[in-house]
């Protein structure tokens, strides 16, 4: 991106810190995806990247472009909202598929379905 050299130091430092922090959080999430043992544990790790990992990078982008273009740039908020709204969809799809398979295979790790009382006639 051009113009990065014009950024005042007082802004460049927090932007850099936010970027590194966001990248580090996303990296930790990915490491967790590798290191955690069971499927249900691994599902937690990437959400670090989709919450504050993403948040830090978006905030850095907002500060960077707001200062460079001398007007408020906030459409990054949209990215944040869309990610927060759409991750539950895929996450539920994936976990429920895993749960369904584990129950079919009689895996002891998976919790049994709620015992349902038959409807009274």
């Amino acid at each position: 991106m051009n113009g990065a050299a014009d950024l005042p130091l007082a802004v460049a430092i927090p932007v850099a810190i936010l970027l590194v922090l966001g990248a580090a959080l996303s990296l930790i999430g990915s490491i967790g995806l590798l290191r955690l043992k069971s499927f249900y544990e691994r599902v937690h790790a990437p959400t670090i990247g989709t919450s504050y990992g993403l948040g830090c990078v978006l905030l850095a982008s907002m500060v960077f472009f707001t200062v460079l273009q001398t007007r408020v740039v906030v459409h990054e908020i949209l990215i944040g909202i869309l990610v927060v709204i759409t991750t539950p969809v895929t996450l539920m799809l994936v976990t429920r598929a895993a749960l369904h398979r584990d129950r079919l295979e009689g895996n002891p790790e998976a919790p049994p379905p709620v015992p349902r009382t038959p409807p009274e006639d």
Partner: protein
Amino acid sequence: MTQRAMRWILPHPILSTGLLLMWLLLEQTLRPGPLLVGLVVAFFGGHALGLLQPERMRIRRPGLILRLAGRVLVDVARSNLAVALVVLKPRPERHAGFIRVPLALRDPNALAALACIMTATPGTAWVEFDLEDGELLLHVLDLVDEGEWLRIVKERYEQPLLEIFQ
């Protein structure tokens, strides 16, 4: 009469306002051209949602949304740190587990909001919810005290959502 006309133009005012705001944010301008297109998008978006026949959404306490959002931001930050620590410094005594939370929430929009909160929090994952018996199955990465988690979900999130939506 005017109310009926408004109903016809804006069957879902919250969604239409959201769409217009999104459009203006994407265009980054208030010039009349993009504004007009945004209004058209908002109009048709509201009618498209009407075709899906959703239940009417009513927001009772808008101020509470901000309080809840602030609370969620803090909790998600804490959970980020906790999960990052679990990944970087595995403790042998940590155990993950499922918990069942009986919910009083039934409004689909409120449930969707709760799902977003639970998913955005790295320490918890929404696994299954049955609308019939109202039991939510959660997976918790670092399960120390089951009662504590129940309290967090019921009091910190469900209670304000009930007040906002129902």
